[in-house]
């Protein structure tokens, strides 16, 4: 079977002429149904742009995005609608992504009602408008239960400002589930939530994967969260619009090969004083991230890379090459070299 989502040489430019930036530069990525894939990188690496292209909120400038083997830009109207329904996104900021003038009930029943209308046909409660509304209300209550907003009656008539950040994010998830998605892009979905509540949100998302066969593209800057959420999946590391390394999570976390991945892993502050003291930090040659307006030639990491080889790294863009323990890495110089961080 075709991967549920496939990116083929996808590039995204913003602006034009001298102000043109390449946010995403010819990336390819296959995501199989049931997989968990994490997209990790710092701000400006193109991870959110990639997520927005996957859900159809931004068209790629070049390349193709395929949903279940079909190019989304060449789909028939009905297929395209099916794709837009099946692929949903949960945004970072639960304070901005919910309509402040609507109650939870309104936010969740609206897509349910619209969805039913499109499908047509009689429902359990009859085919009248009242029957549809009753169905939608019942389903809304089920969905709130699924996202652990219980007792449901306490939440149905609340407005967003009456909810905490974590509760709002659960409403966002319930709303995404109304259309029975097969694929969810979670863009920094837990970053703005208090630490004590993050894990329960992640565990809830993880449960959806099993109970509803949802495939996740989890976008985050936080490697520790990526490790926790995608331990049985894959991590893809992006830097300035390109994929520099990807692989099964345990391999990528314990035996990374790209100097950028190693620098990131070494730099992450650890919530453990011993570990924080012992951990090796990879010394970079420069602390500054190059501007997207003026990207370095060759490997874009070369001006900062401690293993820079003049004449090679600044001359050619390195291709992603397979490595024995799983995954690929775009660094011919260091692809075989592990480093010990602790």
């Amino acid at each position: 079977m075709a991967p549920i989502i496939e990116l083929r040489n996808v590039t995204k430019y913003f602006g034009s002429g001298r102000d043109q930036v390449t946010a995403v530069d010819a990336i390819s990525l296959d995501i199989e149904a049931g997989e968990i894939v994490c997209l990790v990188g710092e701000s400006g690496c193109g991870k959110s742009t990639t997520g927005r292209m996957v859900v159809g909120l931004l068209p790629p400038s070049e390349g193709q995005i395929l949903y279940q083997g079909q190019d989304i830009s060449a789909m028939e109207r009905a297929d395209y609608q099916d794709y837009r329904r099946a692929v949903q996104i949960i945004h970072q900021d639960p304070y901005a992504s919910l309509n402040p003038t609507q109650t939870v009930r309104q936010m969740i029943t609206a897509p349910l009602l619209r969805h039913q209308t499109q499908r047509g046909g009689p429902t359990a409660n009859g085919s009248g408008r009242r029957g549809k509304r009753r169905d939608a209300e019942r389903r809304a209550a089920e969905l709130l239960e699924i996202v652990d907003l219980t007792p449901v009656a306490d939440f149905l008539d609340k407005y967003p400002h009456q909810l905490s950040g974590g509760q709002r994010q659960r409403v966002s998830v319930a709303r995404a589930l109304t259309v029975e998605p097969k694929f969810i892009v979670a863009d920094e979905a837990v970053s703005m939530v208090d630490v004590s509540i993050r894990v329960s949100l992640l565990n809830m998302l993880y449960r959806l994967k099993d109970e509803f066969d949802v495939t996740f593209l989890f976008i985050t800057h936080d490697l520790a969260l990526a490790k926790y959420f995608a331990w049985e999946g894959r991590i893809t590391v992006m830097y300035l619009g390109r994929i520099v390394e990807e692989g099964p999570t345990p391999r990528l976390i314990t035996d990374s090969r790209h100097p950028y991945t190693q620098a990131l892993l070494g730099a992450v502050p650890e919530a453990d004083p011993e570990l924080a003291r012992k951990k090796v930090h990879v010394e970079l040659r420069s602390a500054e991230i190059p501007s997207l307006l003026n990207l370095p030639a060759g490997c874009t990491f070369h001006p900062r890379c401690p293993y820079f080889v003049p004449g090679q790294c600044d001359a050619r863009v390195p291709a992603l090459e397979s490595i024995a323990d799983g995954g690929t890495v775009a660094c011919p110089v260091r692809k075989a070299e592990s480093i010990q961080l602790v």
């Binding site: 004590s196 919530a271 004083p273 924080a276």
Partner: protein
């Protein structure tokens, strides 16, 4: 490092170590709102010791930022600090911060106690160049020798590893997030304060930038012996930089102790809950668990221990009687009726569940 020793004029901190530079005594802060009085800080008693780094950790609404703003008296007009006392000491003199008049208060801020705010961009005036802002600050504190100020600021920029020529005549928007944060640190050090309060110093910065800021703060601590108060929701900042940690919940310090005690032998269920909720990146898979429920409503606080509705160790007593901070070890205090049960739980189940990589 000969350069760094010139940067700090207060090398005597260790000699007067017997007297903490800052003492908070039973500090309460409440905000008046239409819905009622929000009790943001309730009875915090805490000493900031000379040369130490103390981290205040807690979630949003725990009162940590309110406490930080209260120390430099930058709270909004609807806030009231009462009862409570904040005593500041330097070179044998003692100030009652809460009763300082406008003039001495301006002296106290920045010269004695500087605060680095959370959002580095908002801390700058967008229409002033960095240097103009620095010069304004110096003049406001009666330092009118322009070349002296400039010399000092250039030194500080070099200390925070910035290119002085690039930064000094730039506007804030021309600097990257990490450069802004470092510039802000340099400005906060301009008048050689004894105490530095840092509110979420690395939040919203990229990982590699966070690392440069953490390394820089470590140099301030280890080479220049600044007395620092970190305010953060991020346990990692405390683990990386703190000598002592104070965990705050619902406006109170619920646990206080040396960093290794708090991280490896926590005795308050909330500290333990936070540690079990935060993943580390190095090593194998860890089983994590979150704390059930949400932070309390600060207008209608729960009875007894404010954490009891979320606490797995809670008993009937917890809903009736509020525990105070009690000694549980060397310099280690916790406000909980069940500190022994917490200890047993860690002995039985380990601090965090780990699976091999």
């Amino acid at each position: 490092m000969s350069q760094t020793s010139d940067l700090s004029w207060h090398q005597s901190t260790e000699e007067n170590g017997s007297q903490p530079p800052l003492s908070l005594q039973n500090v309460h802060v409440s905000y008046r709102t239409r819905a009622g009085s929000v009790q943001a800080v309730r009875g915090v008693t805490l000493d900031l010791l000379a040369g130490e780094s103390l981290a205040l950790i807690g979630e949003s609404g725990s009162g940590k930022t309110t406490l930080g703003l209260g120390i430099v008296r930058l709270l909004v007009d609807t806030a009231e600090v009462s009862p409570g006392q904040i005593i500041y000491r330097r070179d044998g003199r003692e100030l009652d911060v809460l009763s300082l008049a406008e003039g001495p208060l301006r002296e106290f801020r920045w010269r004695d106690c500087a605060m680095v705010f959370q959002s580095a961009l908002n801390a700058f005036n967008p229409v002033l160049k960095v240097w103009d802002q620095v010069w304004d600050t110096a003049k406001a504190h009666n330092w009118n020798n322009r070349s002296e100020v400039r010399e000092r600021f250039l030194d500080l920029l070099r200390f925070v590893q910035l290119d002085p020529d690039r930064v000094i005549d730039a506007y804030a928007h021309e600097l990257s997030g990490g450069m802004r944060q470092r510039t802000l640190l340099a400005i906060s050090l301009l008048l050689d304060p004894q105490i530095l309060i840092l509110d979420e110093p690395t939040t919203a910065l990229d990982i590699l930038t966070q690392r440069t800021i953490i390394d820089l703060l470590r140099r301030l601590k280890e080479d220049l012996h600044f007395t620092m108060l970190f305010i953060s929701h991020d346990l990692a900042i405390a683990a990386e930089l703190a000598d002592r940690v104070a965990t705050m919940y619902a406006g109170q310090v619920v646990e206080l102790g040396p960093v290794s005690e708090i991280f490896y032998r926590p005795r308050h269920p909330y500290s333990l809950g936070l540690i079990r909720a935060v993943p580390t990146v190095t090593g194998g898979f860890e089983e994590l668990s979150s704390i059930p429920g949400s932070p309390p409503d600060l207008i209608n606080l729960p009875s007894g221990c404010k954490f009891h509705p979320r606490c797995p160790f809670a008993s009937e007593r917890c809903s009736r009687e509020e525990p105070g901070l009690e000694r549980v070890g060397d310099n280690h205090f916790a406000a909980c009726w069940h500190t022994d049960a917490v200890q047993e739980d860690i002995e039985r189940n380990g601090l965090r569940g780990r699976r091999a990589a």
